[in-house]
């Protein structure tokens, strides 16, 4: 899988409360989640994001609440993948489980600015900044997680196991 998209960059400790505020958690409807994605950190995000765009975050992206609504909101908003210096652990496993591609790549994050265009090769774990032409190598997933990703998420993985 290779994604190309415009970058929305945020700082460290982007928590799930700002990704999707609790006041919208009385519904898990995709349109509701997409409409309010990133609302408390970037009011314009939902209007400006285009299919395939990429979120870049600093350390501890997705910290706080376990709400799966956070990676779902990002996915439903059309974001193709999230690249961060590190992810909070529940957000990390939720993303793998629901099939939202994520990559840990501190060097790429540090060399990226909002508005840059990135090309991300998920299988190779490579992030290329099209403005600078530089390519960065992300932290690879352990084989077990690669299997879940390949199956298209945890539910499909479990289905295969149970049948």
């Amino acid at each position: 899988m290779v994604f190309k998209g415009k970058v929305f960059k945020y700082g460290d400790n982007v928590d799930t409360d700002v990704i999707i505020p609790a006041r919208y958690l009385n519904s898990s409807d995709p349109e509701n989640l997409a409409a309010h994605c990133m609302e408390d950190i970037d009011q314009n995000f939902a209007d400006e994001v285009n299919e395939g765009d990429i979120i870049v975050g600093g350390k501890n992206f997705g910290s706080g609440s376990s709400r799966e609504h956070a990676p779902l909101a990002i996915k439903y908003a059309g974001v193709s993948c999230v690249v961060a210096e590190s992810f909070a652990r529940i957000f990390y496993r939720n993303s793998i489980n629901i099939g939202l591609p994520i990559l840990e790549c501190p060097e790429a994050v540090q060399a990226t600015e909002t508005g840059d265009e990135l090309e991300v090769d998920i299988d190779k774990g490579q992030v290329k900044n099209l403005r600078t032409g530089k390519t960065y190598q992300a932290v690879p997933f352990p084989p077990f997680m690669q299997e879940i990703i390949k199956d298209g998420g945890l539910i499909e993985h479990v289905k295969k196991e149970l049948v």
Partner: protein, 421 residues
């Protein structure tokens, strides 16, 4: 070679003799938990799997507590959906309004989280159960769905940081202050992808309620779990409660830790975490400015247990809440509510001008029952002070213990119990 608590618990649940950090296991879980926000998504995912029954109807707990009693029509629809699911699958531990409480207060209280066990919950504060010597850890709705079908979950074995708390606590210093101090020291990602073990004489001397407050906030340092060895106090607490047999799985003496951090608790003062991260902690004496507050919240899965309410009542007794402050008390469960009532704590609260609520997570996450307006500040015994957490993105939350929240409610600004006489 010896194992840490989390290594031992994961090994026992995946039939391994030994595990080390980095290993990945598919482990049996003893309890699967969800609330009214996370369970609806889990039910949808569960239905996609195509199994017609849950793995064990007695090992699933569903607790409508976040937006319950239902705050609006959409919240009511969500609870209705999970209620139907619970009835269809005859889920034993569905806690309806009236029997309910805040999930992490009621599960230990009802003896559903036991030493040596694995409890996964679609709620980040599932790490509370570490206080009982269990691996409690937060997951998402899809994990909850898969575990409801299979009774299993995948885990990467994390390295463990051991915290050794030495010395004796000063008066009015509690488990809340210890954990806030710890988060301030290591940061909100200080234990990311790692387990924390809380040890030392100060932990041995803490009550079970104080221990649960500490383990509850392990996630605020990024931790996968905040484990405390089961001891006589744990056994005493579980007498008459434990709903299953259990095996204590404390760390081996020769367990290997990634890091050992020693903390002298005799130097720790009551702590306040400033907006908008739990790591922004200061001791009371370091706070030079007068921070006026408009709301004081006492309760939540962090500090909604009987000991917390007793501490608040002791300070509020014979006092009045400041005219500029709304002080709200949320007992964590019906049992805590009843006990507080029988002990006369409600008389103290109501005479002081405090509003006492039925158990709910409500205000902690800006759900309902105590939302902040733009420009308002709250002192709160809850666990998160993120931007917009309790309401407007222009409001602010300061985290502290029940003692500091009660004293601040009386003074109208952030203050310690010593200032109230």
């Amino acid at each position: 070679m010896g194992m840490t608590m989390i290594e031992k618990i994961l090994a026992a649940h995946s039939d391994q003799d030994e595990l080390k950090p980095g290993d990945i296991v598919n482990a049996r879980v003893d309890m699967v938990l969800g609330n009214d926000i996370t369970t609806p998504v889990a039910v949808e995912e569960f239905n996609k799997i195509g199994v017609d029954r849950v793995f064990d109807k007695e090992r699933i707990a569903i607790v409508p507590d976040h937006f319950a009693p239902n705050k609006d029509i959409k919240a009511a629809e969500q609870v209705n959906m999970i209620r139907k699911f619970a009835r269809k699958h005859e889920i034993t531990n569905f806690f309806e309004v009236g029997q309910m409480g805040i999930e992490h207060v009621i599960l230990p209280e009802k003896g559903l989280t036991l030493p040596g066990e694995i409890i996964i919950g679609a709620d980040s504060h599932t790490c509370t159960y570490g206080a009982l010597g269990a691996l409690g850890t937060g997951v998402g709705s899809t994990d909850m769905a898969a575990a409801m079908a299979t009774g299993k979950a995948w885990f990467k074995v994390p390295p463990t940081i051991k915290f050794v708390y030495k010395g004796e606590l000063k008066p009015h210093v509690s488990g809340k202050d210890l954990i806030l101090y710890t988060i301030g020291k290591i940061g909100v990602d200080g234990a990311l992808y790692k387990a924390m073990e809380f040890t030392g004489e100060a932990i041995e001397n803490l009550s079970m309620d104080g221990r649960m407050t500490m383990s509850n906030m392990a996630i605020e340092a990024g931790g996968k779990a905040g484990l405390i060895a089961a001891d006589e106090k744990t056994e005493e607490y579980l007498k008459g409660r434990a709903q299953r047999d259990y095996t204590v799985r404390n760390a081996d003496p020769d367990a290997e830790y990634e890091q050992v951090i020693e903390i002298d608790v005799s130097q720790i003062e009551p702590q306040v975490a400033f907006p908008s991260l739990p790591e922004n902690t200061k001791g009371l004496a370091e706070i030079k400015e007068k921070i006026e507050i408009q709301q004081s919240v006492i309760g939540s899965c962090t500090n909604g247990r009987i000991e917390d309410l007793r501490v608040a009542a002791e300070i509020l007794k014979g006092q009045k809440v400041n005219g500029n402050v709304r002080c709200l008390v949320f007992p964590g469960s019906q049992a805590v509510y009843k006990q507080a009532m029988n002990e006369g704590l409600f008389d103290i609260f109501i005479d002081a001008g405090v509003a006492v609520s039925t158990p709910t997570c409500g205000p902690c996450l800006g759900g309902h029952m105590g939302i902040l307006a733009e420009g308002e500040k709250a002192i709160s015994t809850t666990n998160r002070n993120f931007v917009g957490r309790m309401g407007s993105t222009g409001s602010e939350v300061y985290l502290a213990s029940p003692a500091v929240a009660a004293a601040s409610a009386i003074k109208g600004y952030i203050a310690g119990p010593e200032e109230v006489k």
